[in-house]
Structures are given as C-alpha cells and as structure tokens.
Amino acid sequence: MTGGPSRISRRTLLGAGVAGIGAVGGIGFLSGCSSDAKTPGSSGNKPTGAPVKLGPEIENGPKYKDGYIGPHATVKKPFADGKTTFKIVVPQDTQVVGDWNKNKTTEWFEKQTGVKVQFQEVLITNPNGGSDLTKINAMLSSGDLPDAFMGIPFTPAQVSLYGQQGTFVALDDYIAHYSPRLQQAMKDYPDLRGLKASTDGKLYQIPGVNDCYHCRSSQGRAWISKKYLQAVGMDIPTSTDELRQVLLEFKNKNPSGKNGFVPFASGVNNPLDNFMMQPFLYTPPGDQNGGWMRLNSGKVEFTPTKDEWREALRYLRQLNKDGTLTPQNFSMSDTELQTAGNKGQVGFARVYWWGSFFNPVTLDKNAPWRDYVAVPPLKGPSGNQTAQWDYYNFATNGLQITSACKDPATLVQWSDYQMDLESTMWMYDGIAEKNWFWGDEGADGIDGEQALWRDIQWPAPEGQSWNQYATMYRSLDYRGGQQVDPKAPTYEAGLYAAGKDYEKYAEPKEMQLPPVIIPDDSASQVADTATSISQAVKQGMSNFALGKKDIDNDSDWKAYVDSFAAMNLQSYLDVYQKAYESRPK
C-alpha cells in the first residue's frame, strides 16, 4: 500500500539499527520531504509552459439556461503519462463509494486525466456522525504522508496550521497556472478564496463550491400546517401578533382532534430563537461552538444582551402565559418531534425542514408533510422583519496536497478536472446515461428554468459515484438546474420556494460575521467561553420565557447581562474582532 522511495528509506533506517527512536526517524522523514518540496527544478514542481486553457464544449452536451453561472462540460484531454501513481487519502464509505480503487467514476476519471491514483480509505466519521480525524492526525504527526488528502473535513484552522508548518503545500501559483475552472469559480464566487485561505494569506487547499440555495435560510425556518390553519379559519401569520392569535386558536380548538396536540413545536436541535428573535432583531444562530454574533458597521456585536432581545423574550413570555409555549419547546428531542409530526400533532414548527418532524418523508402525493408550508419571516412590533441568511456556507474542502508529493502540478490539474460539469456529474451521481442524463429540452429545473441535468436516484448505486467527496463546483445554477418531474414532486421544489420567501428578508451581508480562523493561542480559551455563553443564553431564554425569571424585572435582566461579563465576553469578542479584521481576503 505504501509505495514509493520513502518506504525504502525507512526500511534501511530500520536496518541500520536506528529503530526504536521513532521520533527521530519521523522528524527526519518530515524535514526530508518539506525540503523536497522547496527544491525547484524537480519534475513539474513549478509551473512551466503556457497556462492551461479550457477546451471547447463537448458534443451533445447539456443545454445551459440564460445567464448560467457554473461548471461547463468541456472536452478534457489526458495530461499525465500515468507513470507516477499518486497516493490520496479519502474517506471510507462502503455504502456509496464502495472500494475507491474499483469505483466506476475512478475508472472513468483516470481515462479523462491519465493520472494514476492509489486511494487509501480512512474512516473519518464517528458513530454520531461527527468527524473523527484521529487516524488522519496520526498520519500527519508521524510523517506518514500521502500525496494528498481529498474530502477530509479539515477545519480552516487545521489547514492553516499544517500549511504554515510546511506539511501542506501552498497552491496559489499552481492554481494560477493549472486551474482554469477553479479560477472561474473564484471569479463567480469572490468570497471563495478568503473562506478557505490561511491566516498567512496563502491558500493551502483546493476549495470547492456546493451552493445549496435553500440551505442559506434553513437554520431559521418555520413551518405551519395549512390544513389546521383552514380548520381554525386563519391565514398564514405575517406578524408576531398574528402568530400569537394562530397559536391560541390552535390551542383552544385543537384542529387535529388528537390528544397531545402541540400548537408550537421546537426543540434541542431546532432552537426557537433562530426564527422567533428575528421580528425583533437580526441575530445569527448559536450553539456551543459560538454564534449569536453579528457585525454592526464592522464591529463584532453580541446579540443576546441587547434590548431588542429582551423585547423578544417578553413576547415569548406572553406565549408562555397563553399556554402555547411550554418547557417542551426547549427540550424536545429529534425523535420526539418526529413522533409528534407522524401522529399529526404539530401545528406550527420551528424546525429545519419536514424531515425534522416527519419520519419517514415519503414522496407519496398525499404524504402528511405536504400540508406544511414555510412561514415567511414575521414582522415585529417595531417593524423589524429579518430572516437568518447564510452568505458563506457554499465553500467546501477539496484537496490538500502534502509536502510528500513530488508533482503537485499534476494533482492540481487533476483536481481542476473535477470541477468540470461532466466530472462533477459523474462524481456526484455515478455512471452517465445510466444514473444521470442531461436535462430534457424544455423541462424545468428546481429553479423553474431550463433544466441542466436529471438523475434516477441519489446516491447512485454502490460503487458508481464518489458521493460528495470530490473537489466540486456545484453552483447555485447547477443545483437549481436539477430537473423536477411535475408528476412526482419531491421536497426540493418546496424547499426552493421556502428559500425564495426568506431571501426577501435576508439580513444585509455586512451584518453577517463570516467564518474566521481563531488563532491557535486563544483557541482553547475561546472554545471554553463559547460553551459557557451557549449555556447561559439557552438557560436565560428558557428562564425568562417560562417565567422562572421575570423579564420585566430590571435586576433579573441585569443579572443575566452581567453573567456574560463574568465569562469574559469582552475578550472573547475582541478575539473575534481581531480575527475578523485580519481574515484572509
């Protein structure tokens, strides 16, 4: 598995009797590699020749809608001789990708590029679905480096660190020369580079784009049952007052006719503040990793101590007095939400999407989830009306090339070929003309315009696709170009419509704090503070809303506000402010 000369040198090292002093060997190996990478002149190590240009469009390609922005399907010529085999570490995924080295897309892509790759699969998720980089970190720290990593969820901070240590290679020069598609993507998405660059301003990874339109508003959406609204003779609420009336009607008339009806559902993983605070002020979502911070003329600002937040809490308290907001709203687990939804016991829900309170979500025409529509952002008493809108969640991790790679240029170009439309389709959806096709002439996509492509099923059957681990360029228009079948509507069109409803009320872009890299020396302190802040915000919200603390009592409010000062909120905000100001562009 571990080919290449480094292995041999290790063996001889062992034979020479230096074994046992593992650290020495490891460091020697590491430094040997980084000096390799800095030596110019070795084959293809610095851009040579004319910059790579895109080929013409392929024949019988897709039909692009007017003003289409995104990947194109162009003629791809193999550029490598296949003499070198690159070792690339990828996530293990036996359900979708199967054996990476025997995968159909792997085979197709090798023909397109001429690049031979030996994939090494590493399990990178723990049973909770979170990422587990234990093995990746062991490889990196012990100097057991592959040529590159692909689809590994490194945080920007990790990439930044490994890049500045010399483990990952800086790629700007290569991209300028070998990556016409990525250059185009960076023009189409001017924020892309800054989101994935390192604190020293360099780019140590090939970024990708996965721009999901409805996801930009998904954190803060709410849903309401049209059927129950009709039953109580009300319309979709447009303001906080109207919502209060609707909930009261729900509670008093119980349109479901079932015991245990929940007029207003929300829960642990679907916190209510993402929707309920917005009629009073724009506040981003938050959790134990941070959040609840926005920009106010370039200054980082903490929202849960603002007066408007207090107003919002007063409103929640009122709902609680009405009996429509209960302790359940802070405690319902995902399973409880789904059980309530399946039984038809939910009136109004502050959740991500139908699947949060229905399980399973079938595509049956009369499936109960189809009764629920998105509630557009409410208008507050002072006229505020905002939707949480995420301007920055489109950037993905593509490829990180390590100092062990003798020929980064080839891998950069290899990665760029993945951002071609045809490649993106193969990688995402498997075999062409079998699991996916170009869009039919005149058929509509999710966004209601000419469809770009359609597929039979996602994920593709095992062994065909690369799931979502490739360097991708899935722009807004690409994703919106997925053909919909008017006879069998899926949830995608509904989610798109919900996105449209929310986009109108999106907060101005200057108000969203973009993701920043917290410098290593303050990282642990920031993480600690974020955890305490998250607890205090959540506790404060439920205490005031449920009347355990009196929201109209100034001393209770002051104690709440002061509790943040005790957590050193100011220095926490200062770290963010500094990181924001010095962020890579």
Binding site: A23, S142, W458
Partner: protein, 296 residues
C-alpha cells in the same frame, strides 16, 4: 416431615428472589427490546410503537446487513483476530505470569515494574503509530493483533493465581523427583492452571471481538476490517450529526436517516450473538479462575 423454613429464611428467599428478578429484568429487557426492534419496521420504531414484541415484522434490516459487502469479510477477520489474539495473548500472559510468580526469579521486582510502566504512562496514539509504521506492520493483520497483545492486568491476575495454586513446595517436590523447570511448567503448572487459561482466553477473545481501534488506526484495507469496524462504519454512514442539519443536503440527511433507522438494532444483535454463545461455555471456568484460591 418437611422442616419448615423459619420466618427469617422465607423473608430472605423472598427478598433474594425479588432482587434477582428485578436485576434479571433490567438485563433482559434491553436485550429483548433490541431483538424485537431489529425485526420491526422503521416506521414503528420512529413512532415509538415497539415495547416488547416486534411491530410490523420484517427482516429488511438483516437483509441489508447481509448484503453489506464487507460484513462476511468482517466476520471472518474478527474470528481470525479473536482466535489469534486470544492464543497469543494467553500464551504471553501465562509465560509472564508464571515466571514472575516464582520467588527465585532474579530482578523480579524490576521486571514487574517494567511491565507496569506502560500502564501508568501511556505514550499516546502518535508514538505508537510511528512504532507500528516503522516496524512495517501498517496494513497487515499483525497490526491488529500485536499492539497491546498482552495486558498487564491479566498478567497480574495470572501471577497471583500461580502464587496461590502452585506454591514453592510443589516445585521443590517436583525437583526432588527429578523434574527440571520446563518439565515442571508444562507437566504440573500448566495442567493446574486450566481455569486461569480459560479466563485469559475469554478476556483476550472478547477484547479482540469488541475491538475496532487498532484496525481503524493501523489498516486502511477494507479486507482487513474486523466486524466491529464494519459495523462502526455502517453506523457512521447513517448517523446524522446535529451540525449537519442546516448546512447539509436534504438528500444526504434522508439517506443517512433511512439507513440508521433500518440498521441500528440489527447491528447490535449481529455483534452480540457470538459472545452470547461463547459465555456459557467459559463461564464455569470464569468463576473458578477469578475466585478460587489456596491449596486443596
């Protein structure tokens, strides 16, 4: 005439049986629930309808698991690792345990202290990884079996067993009859220590059967994966992490959840069966080995 139990005796029995019944139920119910749930439809589980017996009986989950390409490989690998790990671990432990139980072993304390060092201060993942890598063990079965093959805890138990059951006097008697150390060890010490050997086999076997970390860290070839790692991978492919909600794709979420709802209980059952079968056979030795002391 039957002798009547005293009131105290009866009270004792009643209390005893009640406590044991409660305890049995506490252990039994989760098992029955898991087995029932594994045969229930995903919808019934989502709606919380399963209490004791399967609802909407189906073998879908088992079919998916059986179809998972790596499962059979995983089973076979786990068997290899379990048997290999048990034999190797037991052999090392018995050798180390017996030797360190002998009072005439020079530097006995030093040796024992040396054994204890790695349990007191562990080097951590990275140095161990470097050692395994430099020994050329990465991506071999040895990487699963060798690191941590011998547990110092087991050595201590075994040493204590020999101290108590194979005393100095026995060795002296054997020596008078002309036995040398090897003869004594193989002819007398080993036959006398069947219980502790059984216990060691069970301990090491179970550890290997339940183990996934060595394989996870040191191998990346799916053909070397033990069952627990196959199951872990399945589980991680199906888990929905709260952080994904909102950022991820709906299709991805749905795919994961369907898989998860289908598989979670069946996987527990699959992993549970072999130890469940093995326990009763080793149990009698287990009690003896861990509890019996002193000469008979």
């Amino acid at each position: 005439m039957q002798i009547r139990d005293t009131r105290g005796d009866r009270a004792y029995f009643i209390v005893n049986y009640s406590v044991l019944t409660v305890f049995t139920l506490m252990v039994l119910y989760p098992m029955i629930y898991v087995i029932s749930a594994s045969f229930s439809s995903a919808k019934a589980i989502a709606d919380n309808e399963v209490y004791l017996w399967p609802v909407g009986a189906t073998v879908d989950a088992y079919r998916t698991i059986m179809e998972s390409p790596n499962l059979l490989i995983g089973f076979a690998n786990s068997a290899v690792y379990t048997i290999g790990g048990a034999l190797l671990g037991t052999a090392l432990t018995v050798l180390a345990g017996y030797a360190s139980s002998r009072d005439d072993l020079p530097f006995r304390r030093v040796v024992m202290f040396f054994f204890l060092i790695p349990t007191l201060v562990s080097a951590g993942i990275v140095p161990t990884y470097i050692v395994v890598r430099q020994l050329g063990l990465l991506d071999t079965r040895w990487a699963v079996i060798l690191p941590g093959a011998m547990s110092v805890f087991n050595v201590i138990i075994t040493r204590t067993f020999y101290k108590m059951n194979v005393p100095q006097e026995m060795l002296e008697a054997a020596k008078v009859d002309g036995a040398d150390d090897f003869r004594f060890f193989f002819r007398i010490a080993i036959p006398l220590s069947k219980p502790i050997i059984a216990v060691n086999l069970l301990f090491y076997g179970i550890t290997q059967w339940n183990g996934w970390f060595n394989a996870f860290l040191y191998t990346s070839d799916p053909h070397l994966m033990p069952l627990q790692l196959v199951l872990r991978e399945l589980l991680s492919q199906s888990a929905v992490n709260p952080g994904m909600i909102g950022g991820g794709d709906v299709a991805e979420l749905l795919k994961r959840r369907e898989l998860f709802d289908k598989l979670k209980y069946a996987m527990i059952v699959v992993a549970m069966i072999p130890p469940l079968i093995a326990y009763p056979f080793v149990q009698k030795h287990f009690v003896k080995g861990a509890l019996i002391g002193s000469l008979k």
